[in-house]
């Protein structure tokens, strides 16, 4: 019977812990991500070890250490900084543990087994282009940037500016960081409206800030273009109600699931049948197609 047991395990041949490390689940995006990964891992018979590094590279490093000492079979990681995470991932590799990056890439190749990311640059470009369209290629606008020490905030802002920069009639009158925070976005928006009452659009580094800005605009009785990024459920609702005009959905769930799937095949066969770098395209969400989307995935 013991033999049968082994056979069963072999047939299933996915077992042991998989570490799933993401930023704080207090942000619904990362929550859905790690939930999806964990769920998938369970389906495949892994023991998911769900951890959070709160965007603190030092803590991430400790968590990787722990994953190693726990003998994790693989690590699914949404990392805490393109450069600051390389060492941790390499450490895992040296310990013989494959790392499958999701959502954010790192500035090194050949270290992670897979980098399944929604191309932030492409996402932001999509959003920016829609913003241009909604603005009619002209008018004054404000950009809300995320935590400026985060790679993503930088990449997204860069993409925005490259697109919007091509339209001379689109004038950026202010650029402020709201540190990904709804409250800060609300207060900064209120204040900026005082300096620039004549703006006709706000483009934001993520949906949380976009929502904050939208609330401030609503309170000020202004109905202008608000574009976010992430495709969070709240944002999609806001688009339906017209508080926001567009966001860009990152396929968080899809990324997470395929990361686990690839982990399994790698553990089984030592390869993933995928290139290391896999960029999943984001999808533009507008009033027209909002109803087709659920939690970070098409319904």
């Amino acid at each position: 019977s013991g033999g049968e047991g082994k056979a069963a395990a072999a047939a299933n041949n996915a077992s042991g812990p998989i570490a799933i490390i993401t930023p704080s689940p207090a942000n619904v995006f990362f929550k859905s991500e790690s939930d999806a990964a964990a769920a998938r891992a369970k389906e495949l018979g892994f023991e998911p070890l769900v951890l959070s590094h709160d965007d603190d590279a030092a803590k991430q490093d400790q968590l990787v250490d722990l994953a190693i000492s726990r003998g994790a079979k693989a690590i699914v990681l949404d990392n805490a900084g393109a450069d600051a995470s390389v060492a941790a991932v390499r450490k895992a590799k040296n310990a013989g543990i494959p790392t499958f990056l999701i959502d954010r890439e790192i500035n090194a190749t050949g270290v992670a087994t897979a980098q399944i990311v929604s191309n932030n640059y492409q996402c932001a470009t999509l959003g920016a282009q829609e913003f241009v369209r909604l603005m009619g290629e002209k008018g004054k606008y404000v950009e809300l940037v995320g935590k400026e020490s985060d790679t993503n905030a930088q990449v997204r802002s860069q993409a925005y500016n490259e697109v919007l920069g091509q339209y001379p009639k689109l004038v950026q009158v202010a650029k402020q960081s709201a540190n990904w925070s709804q409250t800060e976005a609300f207060e900064k928006m209120e204040t900026l409206l005082q300096a620039h009452p004549d703006i006709t659009g706000v483009i934001s580094g993520n949906d949380t800030m976009a929502k904050g800005a939208a609330a401030a605009l609503k309170a000020a009785g202004k109905d202008i273009v608000v574009v976010g990024l992430d495709g969070s459920p709240e944002a999609i609702d806001a688009i339906k109600t017209g508080e926001m005009d567009a966001t860009v959905l990152q396929p968080a769930v899809q990324m997470a699931r395929s990361a686990v799937d690839q982990a399994q095949s790698y553990i089984k066969s030592g390869k993933t049948d995928h290139p290391e770098k896999q960029a999943l395209d984001c999808e533009l969400v507008t009033k027209d197609n909002a109803s087709q989307f659920g939690v970070f995935a098409r319904k």
Binding site: P25, Q176, A195
Partner: protein, 358 residues
């Protein structure tokens, strides 16, 4: 006998000329708190045309209200010789509670039903939660003799965790309530206004007035000062130390709950991370207002001014488009400099009073 009266008669004679100087002392003391504020205001008025517009001043004051209200509660705690690090988390928790009561209602599994409340009841219940955390803080400090810093550091983590658990980290969006549930109108608190002033400003004004009165004119207020000054002596004088201290934390918890409600109502959404590190602002505001962190000395009025210092700074820098990084640096510098100025003036004042001939 008469002779001893004599002696003291002389004593008075010597000291008598002090009288006029008293008012001067007080005056200087008042002025001190204003200086940083005036300097900043003038600076920004010059640098940014939009600063002195009515609209901006109203927005500014509305934003000040947040720190001011937190500061009021914090002032009582600090006057009583304590400190409350948990206010930020209480803001977050209470926001979530309000959001939860409005969107999901109070779920009673045993009956398999959810009860929805009128908005004012929601606010009441939320305030109660804030008060509850305050009571916990108070008990930890008084009954279990835990240092305030640690007691409230603990509740900081616990309350934050609770806020996150309440929704599993998710946001309660779009808290407009539903006519059929008779729980509409929540956004009014944050968005509505009376006599041209947004409600949050009114809330601040009322709370400030009431607390200033309580602090100055009631036995409770006096006893808070006494405890902050010398707890043992206060106890021997029959002050119910435990009770009074507990009350200061309750007040602080209540103020935090109010802020939680205001913010949630403004955003029309409850986010569990709201209020992170608010405590630092609240404390800064209190100290900028000239209240001593060792307790026993300070005023509510000062705290309000302190809140305006931070508010004006924030508002002005955003108007001027100062980068986030520099904002951080400048904020720190201003806090320190303001307090240094405060110190210097206190000293100069003392010196002046000592020199002036008797």
């Amino acid at each position: 006998m008469s002779s001893s009266v004599q002696a003291t008669g002389e004593g008075r004679a010597i000291a008598a000329p002090a009288r006029p100087r008293v008012s001067l002392e007080v005056l200087l003391l008042r002025l001190r708190a204003y200086i940083a504020l005036i300097v900043l205001a003038v600076l920004f008025a010059v640098l940014s045309p939009s600063f002195l517009t009515t609209g901006n001043l109203i927005i500014l004051t509305k934003q000040v209200a947040i720190n001011a209200i937190l500061g009021i509660g914090m002032t009582f705690v600090i006057l009583g010789g304590g400190i409350d690090l948990s206010v930020g988390s209480i803001v977050g928790l209470c926001g979530m509670v309000a959001g939860w009561l409005i969107s999901d209602g109070l779920v009673l599994p045993m009956f398999g039903i959810a009860v929805f409340f009128k908005v004012w009841i929601v606010m009441l219940l939320t305030a109660l939660v804030g008060v509850g955390v305050g009571v916990v803080n108070g008990l930890l400090v008084t009954r279990f003799a835990v240092t305030p810093f640690i007691a409230t550091l603990g509740t900081l983590y616990v309350a934050r965790g609770a806020a996150l658990l309440l929704s599993g980290g998710a946001t309660f969006p779009n808290l407009v309530g539903h006519p059929s549930l008779k729980n509409t109108g929540f956004p009014t608190l944050g968005a509505g206004s009376a006599l041209g002033l947004p409600y949050p400003i009114w809330v601040m004004v009322v709370l400030a007035a009431v607390s200033a009165f309580v602090a100055r004119k009631t036995p409770f207020g006096r006893q808070v000062y006494a405890i902050g000054g010398n707890e043992k002596a206060a106890a021997l004088a029959g002050v119910r130390v435990a009770r009074v201290k507990l009350l200061t934390y309750v007040i602080s918890g209540f103020c935090a709950a109010v802020v939680g409600l205001i913010i949630t109502s403004q955003l029309v959404a409850a986010h569990p991370a709201t209020g992170g590190s608010f405590e630092l602002n609240a404390i800064a505001v209190v100290v900028l207002g000239g209240t001593s962190l060792t307790g026993g000395r300070g005023t509510i009025g000062g705290t309000i001014i302190g809140a305006f210092v931070i508010g004006v700074l924030f508002n002005g820098m955003v108007l001027l488009g100062v980068s986030e990084f520099w904002q951080t640096v400048i904020k720190g510098a201003v806090i320190v400099v303001a307090v240094i100025v405060d110190q210097l003036q206190q000293r100069m004042q003392q010196a002046a009073l000592a020199k002036s001939p008797t």
